[in-house]
Subunit: 135 residues, 2 copies
């Protein structure tokens, strides 16, 4: 049994090289634009500046066959089960990112500190629910 | 461009009816078991009791064509763009759940308060990163 994911848009970012990408969004990641496919226009009508969002992306340049990885790519650290890490290399290479909306321009949403490469497919956007995500 | 998701396991839960499912994990959701496919055994070797995890599931019984929904299914509330809600009905019906590990028994992981129906496919497991997810 498998399922098919349809990207809803993509990331537009000054980050173009894996080597330049920070490990997490609060480690100096640049602001970026989310560029939505016009088919999903109605879904983003209530997103506005100041919103705290969780993004799901697809790490389309990551390996999918790694079950054990070195945390943060540091080979001096012991190999760790991939489900105990945030490695982009994982069976289903979905990235999870927390961002703040800076501005909205029609199908383009400007967000703070996103550690995803230019062109990364955007899969889903969810609001942060304080009681759930911050407890 | 599309991507294919391969479930890594499934949820085993006393929740079998949509009508019984709480809207969020902290609204009385029952404890549940995650049952991993043996192919992913190595990936969960470092998961243990007390771990705080984020689960991605696939809401396999949700519609995918809804771009505007009534929050919490309440038709008295105004229709809202789906990316500003946690509705299971969304273009890529991925669920995000925060749980605590209660016990691990080989390929079975017991977790607290999970608002997912019995049989729901499990797509990914990530550790909670305090600095990112709780800031």
């Amino acid at each position: 049994m498998t399922f098919v994911v349809h990207p809803i848009g993509r990331v537009e970012s000054p980050l173009t090289e894996l080597a330049d990408a920070p490990r997490q969004g609060d480690e100096g990641a640049p602001d970026a634009w989310l560029v939505f496919d016009p088919a999903y226009r109605d879904g983003l009508k209530d997103i506005g500046p100041g919103d705290e969002l969780l993004l799901l992306t697809w790490f389309d340049r990551a390996a999918r066959d790694a079950l054990v990885v070195h945390p943060r790519g540091d080979v001096t650290r012991p190999p760790t089960g991939v489900f105990s890490t945030r490695s982009p290399a994982r069976p289903n290479p979905l990235g999870l990112h927390r961002v703040t909306v800076l501005a909205v321009d029609d199908l383009r949403v400007h967000v703070s500190g996103l550690e995803a490469l230019d062109g990364t497919p955007l899969i889903d956007v969810k609001p942060v629910l304080g009681a759930i995500d911050e407890r």
